[in-house]
């Protein structure tokens, strides 16, 4: 990353901007792939690619810690679990179905447009993004800074987040431990519907 800095200083051109567009050009098709690829597992892998490019964006913003965490936790850990979960489901059944019913499409596009607009508007409203100018974040040893902020200024959100995660863990344990009878029956029916296929 420092070498990147060096190059930036040397070239007298805005390399960062160039890199940003390159990363965006990779990320957007990948993201489309995640949505439109008919193969669920494949789109899971593409999701990893999306996260990786976003980590690259973090690097561009000099947020090393964030970028590395992004790779470590989202890029590999969580998405891999998702992919494995997808592998364990019956993918052939998924690809066999036709989700592109007109009603579904309409609803889905309505929701996506809504979400996109919301995010876009909220982003627009902030006129100046003071990322580069906030000296505390752009200092190289920013892990220390993040640690301090987490333990002092952001202590409450941090604790909330950890409680949320704990709850999620407990919930996961509960879910896998015992299913309600109704759910189990539903699962039975679902199984009967599925042919004994051996291909994942």
């Amino acid at each position: 990353m420092e070498s990147l800095n060096l190059l930036t200083a040397l070239a007298h051109v805005n390399v960062e901007q160039g890199f940003f567009y390159v990363l965006a050009a990779i990320a957007i098709p990948l993201a489309y792939g995640v949505v439109f690829d008919r193969n669920v597992i494949r789109s899971g892998f593409l999701l990893i690619g999306v996260f990786a490019t976003i980590a690259g964006l973090f690097f561009l913003l000099q947020a090393q810690f964030l970028g590395l965490s992004q790779i470590l936790i989202y890029g590999v850990g969580i998405t891999l679990v998702i992919v494995i979960a997808l592998m364990l489901t019956n993918a052939r059944q998924e690809t066999g179905m036709n989700p592109a019913l007109p009603a579904n499409v309409g609803l889905a596009s309505f929701v996506s447009v809504l979400v996109f607009t919301t995010i876009y508007l909220s982003l627009r409203s902030a006129e100046d993004w003071p990322l580069k100018n906030e000296s505390s974040l752009s200092l190289p040893p920013n892990i220390e800074m993040i640690g301090k902020h987490l333990m002092t200024y952001y202590a409450l959100p941090f604790e909330f987040a950890s409680i949320l995660l704990l709850a999620a863990l407990v919930g996961a344990v509960m879910l896998s431990k015992a299913e309600p009878a109704s759910l189990a029956n539903a699962g039975d029916e679902a199984e009967q519907a599925v042919d004994g296929t051996d291909r994942v």
Partner: protein, 439 residues
């Protein structure tokens, strides 16, 4: 008996030859494009050449890694085969080149020339991408290690990240994506099972590995490789494996609790090292944990269907990962590039300096003397020497483990990680934190 000694001698000779090749090539190339070429450019074109000179200098780490990784893998594979041969009373490859020194080069060439087979029904994109994703992290993972290995040599300072340790940990978690991808994409059930196993294994062993590394970082108080290595300067007692200097602070008049704490800390750190070695073995799929490619069960696991250059890339990355993990351990626990005894390092440096002076000092004009001086810096050479000794010793130890231990089963593996290693790592984390304050 004589013939056994003879075989060991042959192995030592091979090692020497290959180390000369690897480090000679890497050092020569990095020096010429990092020092010589920029000097020439600057002297020719003055200020306008500054950009190109600096660009070349910035490229040094990349070129060095690109050279180092394949050469190093060639040596490591050869060394492993020869060592396994030694352990199993055989001779090992000894036909290609002197004593079989270039066997792996020949093997690599053979792999490159082999037909690439894509199985029917494979997901071509994922199938092709998988080796790349598996290999890329091992290349970029080596980079921060370069600075630590070379004693923060000016050429490699750019890749010395303040968050080096964290960087390596993040990067080393990526290969498993390649494994899962390749295993799934090759449309083979053995591959798929291997990939799933690999994912489960990587995710579970990353936690104790991370915890053990975090503990060392706490002990050292930094995430910077060079600093961690520098903190262990001095002697064996300063190494992190013995508590990072806790023992040296003890004097005659230290209170008993301080002595006890220091000894306990040292014991904890040795345990920590054992923990790291176990987790690292699991992380790079070495023998007791080589389930993803368990040969007797899953044919060859995730790379069953790979052939030719793709397989070669998997192979390359696997050994590079082993090297990264070993060097990492050498820096984190075994004092980096510092000699185990206080006098030894100084003796190394002054001896080298004397040697250089004797060879070049008397008869060379100023210019050449400068070149030589920038080429061979005695302190750097000593540093590189010690760290290489340590990391290859760990690599050889991995070979010994591979020659001995059977493989764990997947549920036992997970059991072992979650029920033994994670609690142990947590206990050690807390213990080390407290003991460090006590000492």
């Amino acid at each position: 008996m004589n013939s056994a000694v003879f075989e060991i001698g042959k192995f030592a000779r091979l090692t020497l030859l290959w180390l000369c090749i690897i480090f000679g090539a890497v050092w020569g190339v990095s020096w010429s494009i990092g020092v010589l070429l920029p000097a020439v450019i600057l002297s020719q074109s003055g200020e306008s050449g500054r950009f190109w000179a600096q660009l070349l200098q910035a490229l040094v780490p990349v070129v060095a890694v690109a050279l180092f990784v394949p050469l190093n893998t060639c040596y490591m594979v050869l060394a492993e085969r020869r060592l396994l041969a030694l352990f199993t009373v055989r001779k090992g490859p000894n036909r290609v080149g002197p004593d079989g020194a270039f066997q792996t080069v020949a093997d690599a060439l053979k792999l490159l020339l082999k037909e690439e087979i894509t199985p029917r029904g494979a997901d071509l994109l994922m199938y092709t991408l998988a080796p790349v994703i598996f290999f890329a992290p091992s290349i970029i993972g080596v980079m921060p290690l370069l600075a630590a290995v070379s004693g923060n040599h000016p050429l490699f300072t750019p890749v010395n990240l303040p968050t080096g340790v964290f960087y390596i940990l993040a990067v080393s978690s990526i290969p498993v994506v390649g494994v899962v991808m390749g295993g799934w994409a090759s449309n083979n059930k053995y591959s798929l099972v291997g990939a799933l196993r690999s994912a489960a294994q990587a995710i579970s062993y990353e936690i104790p590995l991370l915890l053990s590394i975090i503990t060392v970082c706490l002990l050292a108080g930094t995430l910077d490789f060079v600093q961690i290595a520098d903190n262990q300067r001095g002697s064996l007692l300063n190494w992190n494996i013995l508590g990072g200097g806790a023992l040296t602070h003890l004097g005659i008049g230290s209170p008993w609790w301080s002595i006890a704490a220091a000894l306990l800390l040292a014991a904890c750190c040795i345990l920590l090292f054992a923990l790291y070695v176990i987790c690292a073995c699991a992380e790079v799929n070495r023998t007791p944990f080589d389930l993803p490619e368990a040969e007797s069960e899953l044919v060859s696991g995730f790379n069953t269907e790979y052939s030719g250059i793709k397989f070669a890339i998997f192979f390359l990355a696997e050994y590079t990962n082993l090297f990264i993990v070993s060097t990492f351990a050498a820096v984190m626990f075994l004092g980096g590039g510092h000699a185990p005894f206080p006098g030894l390092e100084d003796a190394c440096i002054s001896g080298l300096r004397g040697l250089l002076a004797a060879w070049f000092g008397a008869c060379t004009p100023f210019q050449l003397g400068w070149l030589v001086n920038s080429l061979v810096n005695p302190a750097t050479v000593s540093q590189v020497f010690w760290i290489i000794v340590k990391s290859y010793a760990l690599v050889w130890f991995a070979s010994l483990i591979r020659a001995t231990l059977p493989r764990l089963r997947i549920d036992q593996l997970m059991d072992y990680s979650w029920k033994r290693l994670v609690p142990l790592a947590l206990i050690l984390l807390i213990a080390v934190t407290f003991l460090k304050e006590l000492v």
